[in-house]
Symmetry: C2
Subunit: 234 residues, 2 copies
């Protein structure tokens, strides 16, 4: 937690906040905050700044000053086949920390049906994982996250609008062309499930306007691939 | 497991292997292998190829043909402040899957002493995590891994030889110069602990020949940073 993310409801008055729960514990146990100490803070969806601790018991109270803009997002929209629940948390936090502008989770043939029933898809968890990514990277702006449980309607109705004005890259092991590097404009990046998209799905994405590129011989875990591609592209 | 990694001792005769334990369970449960099925295999430190399943009970037997070279490594040596045990496994597997050529784990002021006593630093675990990375990426060549429990002797005696002929990059949030992209030769990449290297440590690395570069405003988890930098550099 390199930034303590504040919510509107944390404010007890102008420039004064009170924290409880997860953030309180983290600040006490990891930051070992004491009265008079300073912490980097930011308002969810707003500015960043410094907080000065005025009390640590029973709750953490701080006087905060917010005057810095959050870092810019990458001009990158991410479309991911829904990963295994175990992997989902890490991917969401990593993509958010990297500054991905928006995240779309889609279905695919090789996405097991049970993944869509995982408790990790609860609104609370999807929010928490992105908050953890913001706190890690010192950002305050939550990337929108949209679930698309049916691939065909997504590819036919949503994808064309999504990729408008972007370079739409489908990362596909079978493709011939190597993935470009430092494109001049925004990118939409589509990454398939473990085992890849099946040919009919690749066809759907290509008809929807995407171009298939290969990332080389190595097959990477999705969270590694997202980070490596973000580093390569921007 | 996109490749079943074979050891010399798996061979029961020329071109015949028998698998037990972790790999047997994985092949049966995840690949759902049956007699006649084919799997991608590779010999640790050797060539890759195909295996044809000849029996699944009580052990998995395969006829294998190995004739493909493993993918080339990245010209990248990685020097990491020892991460938290929880993070260590993921970093080792990710770095190996990306094709990092060798890995050095070093001490730093902000590395908690207890991390060096973690059971995850056992030889068996350090081997297993890299094997998982090889199996993920379809590679067979284990990157050497060296532990350096004292930073100063490492920086003064080991680092100068390590970085010879490479661009030695110290990823440091405080630096002014942005990290280069697509260098023409090999790179040694040094990444600090959560919370960063302290100034005296930065000084040690700089005296040892490293140049400090910034990666931008965002603070990334070490496994995300490694992947983003590998993607950016190569």
């Amino acid at each position: 937690m390199n930034l303590i993310l504040l919510l509107e409801e944390d404010f007890t008055g102008p420039g004064r906040v009170r924290l409880t729960g997860r953030r309180l514990r983290h600040v006490l146990e990891v930051h070992r905050a004491s009265v008079g100490g300073e912490l980097t803070v930011g308002l969810l969806g707003g500015e960043m700044g410094r907080g000065r601790v005025t009390a640590v018991e029973p709750d953490l109270c701080m006087d905060v000053e917010l005057h810095l803009p959050p870092p810019p997002k990458l001009p990158l929209k991410l479309v991911l086949a829904l990963p295994r629940p175990k992997v989902l948390n890490r991917v969401l936090a990593a993509a958010t920390s990297l500054g991905v502008a928006e995240i779309h989770l889609v279905n695919a043939w090789k996405v097991e049906k049970s993944y869509w029933g995982s408790p990790r898809l609860s609104e609370d968890n999807l929010l928490l994982q992105r908050v953890l990514g913001l706190e890690q990277a010192r950002d305050t702006v939550l990337p929108p996250l949209v679930l698309h449980r049916l691939l065909r309607p997504f590819a036919e109705n949503v994808l064309p609008g999504l990729i408008e004005g972007t370079l739409p890259i489908l990362a596909h092991p079978g493709a011939d062309e190597p993935c470009p590097r430092t494109p001049t404009g925004p990118v939409t990046l589509v990454i398939g499930p473990e085992g890849g998209f099946i040919p009919a799905e690749v066809e759907l994405f290509v008809r929807g306007g995407c171009r298939a590129f290969t990332l080389g011989e190595r097959i990477l875990r999705v969270e590694t691939a997202v980070a490596a591609l973000a580093g390569r592209l921007f």
